[in-house]
Every structure is written in structure tokens, then in C-alpha cells.
Symmetry: C2
Subunit: 284 residues, 2 copies
């Protein structure tokens, strides 16, 4: 056995310790990376295990479990109920992603009421892991637009997968977004990826992205209810720069950006249809 | 060099090929796993790169870009607007996670209207990646309860991190959920992790979880608007069993389960407060 090796691979045979040892080091290095990755995934999955309906009791740590209050809701008769729900659907159905805004001002109190509505959303462990930054200053809107357009250009030209770019090519979608300056308000929605207990230690924010997204759903409902329009956009890789620009802390990440205002007089939207009810609702 | 090895480790020296070759195989195996993992992450990140406001144009592939329609919204005067938004907030603010339901029936058309409202949510590339399964049959509700309670017991006793279990311990939260049988309806919300093009190839559903969560936000708004109540719960690891029970396809995953009905006459909720507006809204 040894002779065959020595005859056919004399160099390998003579210097194998120099190959063998780096290989051992290399292997151990890779294994350690693997384990670190696995541990990372386990930590992640803790966030994923839990139940929003249990979690909201976590915040009760300073309250006795007996501290409960009666829960009653106003009732209306059957016909009113049917009318109300139909009318609500019709209002929601007016919502379209609109990129053409009037510069007409919207009263500040209206924006406040809309965000108060969003703040009623449920959240894992009642952590309310959301921050809404409302930008009205024209110079800041310009800076936000610059950041988003720059990052988006990089996305188009460098980061995006080939498939994605091909999907978009036929529409010649570009990264020019004048509406970020035209809309009277930009609402930047941040998720708080973690929080702090009173003693300063980190508090896990279970389900923070899901909670914030649900809150944005209620925000959109409030915007439609007000007869205003918006476009639901995700600020790509601009999150950190936007956070720095707006002076938000490092536990916050900008997940959604919503320009809000009235549609411009010449606004148009793509002629899209929604799925019919029988494609989204199944009864058992 | 060779002599030192031969003297001190005669066995290793004699049989190194038998150690060396398995080590090479082992290393290559690990490297291949690493690369597969990395590729997985890259595919994932494509989902994360993009912009909901761009993506909704993807579905226009069969339409010309010129196929646009005017977008107008009904207007009301300033005072009406302030009243409407305040009133909407007040209705939303009645929402609490409620686990005590009356068995009183709710008209089917009301549930339909609520889900139609949820179906108006925006979605990445206008993929509308949601399925709402409404369960009214008592035997199915019982089966769903059994599945969820079983999985939850396993979560409590085995899967959950130590920290999480400690967080919950003080409340003696248990996994008994009678309300899953008491509420007249269970709405199970599935995300479609991917879809299909007309030619049968897989269609990527960008932002499917965020889109579905936003849709659930509108669903919750519609439920509150109707004077009904619910509790936003995530069905833990029961997703696959629920999918099989309800005969949903393998591209769907149950992300949220909502029992829906009227609160029972004796319903109570924890005496929680929400964050004040100045803790969630920042102006620039």
C-alpha cells in the first residue's frame, strides 16, 4: 500500500504532513462555521415559536392575572351589520397603489388619527414594536428620495437576481420616484427588532415583523377610510441610511414607506383586477 | 521531518492514506453543504429585494403599460374628514384579543364581506398570495382544536427555549383553548409561498408573508368595524397538520388563525394599556 503511494506520488508521500495539517485546520474551521450557523437558526426559531394570543400576556408581568376587565362591544341589528360590512368592503376596494399625488395639504390631526388607528394593532406579547415617522419637511423628503433612488439604482443594476431583472425588463420600470417629494406626507414605518426591559436588558420582540405588517394593514384601512391614497413600498436596502437620516435607534428597521395624500387630478393606475371571492375564500 | 513523524506516530505514519482520504471526502461533503446553504440564502434574499410598489406591475405581463385607468376618490370636507378618521380610530380602539366567545351565529354574508375587504390588500407583484379558509363545521373545529392543543403542549414541554418557558411560567398559561370550538367561525389564513404561471412553472411570491399580514390587518379592521371580536393567533407548528386536515395544497402555509364571533356576555380581557401617541409617532 505504502509503496504504491510512494511510487506514484512521491511528493505527496514525502510532504503529506504539510497537506494533512492545513486540511485538519480547514475542516475544523468549516465545522465551527456550520455550528455557529446552526445555532443562529435555533435562536431565530425561538422567535418563531409562540403564539400571539399567548404572548400578549407576557407584558402582564407586573400585573396579577386577576386584573381583568369586562369586554363588551356595541351591537347593531342584522341588516345594519350587513350594510356596514358591505360599505366597509366598498371603501377598502377603492384602494389602489397610487404614485401620482396632489400636493394639497392634509390636516395634521387626520394623519394623527390614522396612526392612532394603526397603533391599535395586536402584537406578539403586546410589545407594540412599531414606530411611525411622519415626514413633512420638503428638504427631508428630497433626501429620502435621493437615498431610495440611489439604492434602487444599485438594486437594478447590481443586486437583483437575473430572473428578477428579466421579470421587470419588459415594463422598463425605473427608479425615478418624484412622488416621494410630491406627496404632502411620507410615513416611514419602523419595526423594533428588540426592546428593553426597565433594567436595561434586551427584550425579545416576538413576531415583530408580522405585528408591524398587521399594523400597516390597519393603517392602510384608515387611509382608505379617509379618502386618501398611498403606495405600499419597501425601502429595499435603504433601511440603515433612512434610519440614520431620521435619527432612529439601532433596534429599529424601516420596513415600509408610505407616501400619503390625495391623488392628483390626472392620477392613473394600472387596470388590474382582484381575484374573485371564490378564489380566496373556502368554506368547511 | 518524516523521521520525527515515523518515530512518534508510527501508526499514523504508516496508515495516513486511510485517514487522509476520508478527511478529504468529509471536507468536500461539508463544503458542499455550506454552498447549498449559501445558495438557499441567496434565493431567500431575492424575495427580500424588491419593492411592493414596483412588483405590482409584474402581473401586467399580458397587458400593455398604456392600459391605465383614471384614479379618483370621493372627497369630503375638512370637518367630515377629521370626524371620520377620529371615529375610525375609536372603532379600531375597541379591538382587544378576546378568548371568550358567544356561540351566537353571525350571518355568512358578513363573514364574506369581511374577507372581501381583506382581499383588497396590496401584495408584492399583485400576487394576492392569500387563502382564507372559513370553518363552521363543529367536528372540524374540534379537530383543529385537538391539533393545536397537542402541538402547543409539545411546544411548552419540549420545543420552547428555556427563556420563553420562564417568561410564561408566572402566568401558568396553558394550552387549553375551548374558544376554538365556541366561536361560530374559525378563519384560517394561509400564505401561498409560491404560485404557478399559466404554463405550470413556479411563480415566485415576493413578500408573501408581509402581504398576507397586511391583509390580516385589514381583516381585523373589518372585524372591528362589524362589532365582532377575535384573537390573533399563530398556529405554531400545527401548520402542516392543519393544511392536510383542510385539504390545502403544499404551496400554502397556515400563518394566522382567527376565531370570529361576538364576545360572550361574561367576556373579560387583561387590563392592558396601549402606548400613547407620542411613543409611536415622530414628526420631521
Amino acid at each position: 500500500m505504502m509503496n504504491i503511494f510512494e511510487e506514484n506520488a512521491p511528493l505527496l508521500s514525502a510532504y503529506w504532513p504539510f497537506l494533512f495539517l492545513p486540511l485538519v485546520v480547514f475542516t475544523l474551521f468549516y465545522i465551527s462555521i456550520m455550528f455557529r450557523k446552526r445555532r443562529g437558526i435555533d435562536e431565530e426559531s425561538i422567535n418563531d415559536i409562540g403564539d400571539m394570543d399567548i404572548n400578549d400576556q407576557l407584558m402582564l408581568s407586573n400585573q396579577s392575572k386577576a386584573d381583568r376587565i369586562p369586554y363588551k362591544l356595541p351591537r347593531c341589528d342584522k341588516n345594519d351589520l350587513i350594510y356596514k360590512t358591505k360599505s366597509f368592503y366598498q371603501t377598502m376596494n377603492l384602494r389602489r397603489s397610487c404614485r401620482m399625488f396632489s400636493s394639497e395639504k392634509v390636516p395634521e390631526i387626520v394623519i394623527e388619527n390614522i396612526i392612532k388607528a394603526a397603533g391599535t394593532a395586536p402584537s406578539g406579547a403586546h410589545t407594540e414594536p412599531w414606530t411611525f415617522v411622519v415626514v413633512e419637511r420638503q428638504d427631508l423628503k428630497k433626501k429620502i428620495r435621493d437615498i431610495i433612488e440611489e439604492e434602487e439604482e444599485i438594486n437594478y443594476t447590481r443586486r437583483m437576481g437575473e430572473k428578477w431583472v428579466n421579470d421587470l425588463k419588459q415594463f422598463k420600470t425605473d427608479w425615478i420616484k418624484p412622488y416621494l417629494e410630491e406627496a404632502p406626507y411620507l410615513i416611514l414605518v419602523f419595526k423594533q427588532t428588540y426592546g428593553f426591559w426597565p433594567d436595561g436588558t434586551r427584550k425579545v420582540h416576538y413576531y415583530n415583523e408580522m405585528s408591524v405588517s398587521i399594523s400597516v394593514g390597519i393603517l392602510l384601512a384608515a387611509i382608505s377610510n379617509a379618502g386618501l391614497c398611498t403606495v405600499t413600498s419597501t425601502p429595499l436596502n435603504a433601511g440603515t441610511r433612512l434610519r440614520d437620516l431620521l435619527g432612529r435607534p439601532s433596534n429599529e428597521k424601516c420596513v415600509i414607506l408610505l407616501p400619503v395624500g390625495y391623488p392628483s387630478k390626472t392620477a392613473t393606475v394600472p387596470n388590474l383586477k382582484r381575484k374573485p371571492l371564490q378564489d380566496i375564500l373556502f368554506r368547511c
